[in-house]
């Protein structure tokens, strides 16, 4: 599935990350030029889902672990922020102990911590299995998380939880259109750089090697479980951050955001963009979300086109959109 590793140069990846972040940073300018403020909203959504997809790709693309529980972890992050705001709103206490807060400098790290811890616990069980069993057990955990939040009647159950009060970051209003967008973009840039460093570090080498040849890795003296588990927890924490940002941005979270289909969407974003690069899923998320909104406006049968597109990508574009970029680049170079 990965494209030729010969071209794997960390420096060119840092360049790509810089370009992507720069392009995204210019979106509000374009939006004000064409007079369509909605462009910022959709870019916000792209950035938030890109964070989640990059998180998934850490274990999927580099660790070879097809996880279907990332929507659940994503949702945990969202619920942490929403539940804290809920308690701040009516001045009640969480577990009769902790006061709520609308301050994101507390909410976001806590969301990452809780989602990361959940990923670690569920990962510990899941990583005992492999292959299709791993896919299925992560699906099972996703469903459990889903039903868990459906059962939380206090926090809205299936209806979800609205965030009624205004969220702040270090005391400043956090969810203004522009400030929130740039906040999310900074988070994405940080996540990309961290993950990029990570996969080229010693830890990353072990993780990547474990997905290519587990038997060989053991034979040279490295047991992959601890590394996979660490990556899984980290990936969960970042997915939790994305979920927290989604909840903060739309001031709402519900179990529907955690359905296993959403986990599948995240996998499609990774594959669509290309899993061999840290930044591939950012492309995937952008194309996926824009297509979703454009196609669904055309026809009620838009899922037909969407299904065909997924098949097409798997059949002919095995490295995802990254491959397409390479093709275009090569043609440009040979001209």
């Amino acid at each position: 599935m990965a494209s030729s590793p010969a071209s794997y140069r960390p420096s060119s990846d840092m360049m790509a990350i810089t370009v992507i972040v720069a392009v995204l940073a210019a979106v509000p300018v374009v939006a004000s030029l064409v007079g369509d403020p909605f462009l910022v909203k959709i870019a916000t959504r792209v950035v938030v889902f890109a964070i989640a997809a990059v998180a998934l790709n850490l274990v999927l693309g580099f660790g070879g672990l097809v996880s279907l529980m990332h929507a659940g972890l994503f949702g945990i992050g969202g619920y942490v922020v929403a539940i804290l705001a809920f308690h701040a709103d009516d001045s009640s206490r969480l577990f009769d102990l902790f006061p709520g807060t609308t301050e994101l400098s507390i909410g976001l790290p806590l969301a990452m911590l809780v989602a990361g811890a959940a990923a670690a616990v569920m990962g510990l069980v899941s990583l005992r299995t492999s292959g299709v069993y791993f896919i299925m057990i992560t699906l099972a955990f996703n469903q459990m998380l889903y039903y868990f939040f459906v059962a939380l009647q206090q926090y809205g159950g299936e209806d979800g939880l609205q965030i009624m009060s205004d969220l702040t970051l270090f005391g400043h209003a956090a969810i203004g259109r522009m400030s929130f967008y740039y906040g999310c973009l900074v988070a994405l840039a940080l996540v990309l750089v961290v993950v990029q460093r990570l996969i080229n570090s010693r830890f990353g080498m072990v993780l990547r090697a474990s997905s290519q040849n587990e038997r060989r890795l053991t034979a040279i003296g490295i047991a992959p479980l601890r590394y996979r588990l660490t990556a899984f927890a980290l990936s969960g924490a970042i997915a939790g951050l994305a979920g927290a940002l989604l909840a903060a941005g739309q001031q709402f979270i519900s179990p529907a955001e955690m359905s296993w289909v959403r986990s599948g969407d995240l996998v499609v974003m990774c594959v669509l963009g290309g899993m061999a690069r840290v930044w591939g899923p950012v492309l995937g998320a952008a194309v996926f979300l824009v297509l979703e909104i454009v196609l669904s406006g055309w026809s009620t049968h838009w899922q037909l086109a969407f299904g065909l597109l997924i098949i097409l990508v798997v059949v002919s574009l095995r490295g995802g959109l990254i491959d397409l970029l390479h093709l275009v680049g090569r043609r440009g170079a040979s001209r």
Binding site: M1, L60, V66, V125, R128, T129, S130, G131, V132, Y133, I135, M136, I137, L139, A140, F141, Q143, M144, Y147, F148, V150, A151, W260, G264, V267, V268, V271, H301, Q303, L304, F306, G307, L308, L309, I310, I311, V313, V314, V315, R318
Partner: protein
Amino acid sequence: MDVALFTEQLLNGVQLGVQLFLMAAGLTLVFGIMNMINLTHGSLYMIGAFVAAALFGHTGSFLLALVIAVPATALAGALLEAAVLRHFYHRGHLDQVLVTFGLILVLNEIVKMIWGAVPVPLPVPQLLSGSVTLFADVTYPSFRLAILGVGAVVALGLYAVVAHTRIGMWVRAGASNRDIASAMGVNVELIFSLVFAAGAALAGLAGIMAGPINAVQVGMGEPVLILALVVTVIGGVGSIKGAFIAALMIGVVDTFGRVLLPPALGSMMIFMLMAVILAWRPRGLFPVHG
């Protein structure tokens, strides 16, 4: 819960299990033999039910609908295999999941274009519309008994074919080592196609038998597919015996879980069961070698 009610619930659990087994059998065979995750199995279930409903609408005969719709689904499966899925046997599981997921979207829309979004009727055949008194205090719907019967016959039939016939031997040979089997003169391609068509026929049969008790509508295959995947994985991928035992287990656990536990916990039961079993036996209850 008195004895009569307990018996009835047990029957319900076993009947649900048998229904799941019809789905899981095809899934686990294709899975075990071709090493192919085929999510379109749920779509074949839907196609079976829709074709039967359409035939019933024209002829008014459930039996005729059944007799034609099962081979029709097998044919649809064979076409799907030859046109698309065949090219993915050697790809990774991720590719297989994605392609068949894409196919689900496509097939759902096609069915919606043909039959519309409104659920279509497929009633219980007249002969089986009543209830039967089994013993004192226990009456049971005849059609559910029929599902039990069909499932039992299919399970026995499958066991006999796989364990005792020449085709079954070829299937096992093809599964354990493709190259050696071809060298011995087994047409592996043909065997694979046959297995796939047979699996499709079973999915279609499951869909038709479910038609009279479930809604025949677009997307009806997905919830069943998830349950059948759970069954397949708990039983051990590739194991018919495992699928059978796991299906009964899921049917009974789900039935009693729903009745005895609070609803939130009841809906989580089968997933918790799967997580516990896989944590204990990472390759399912009856792992198949290879």
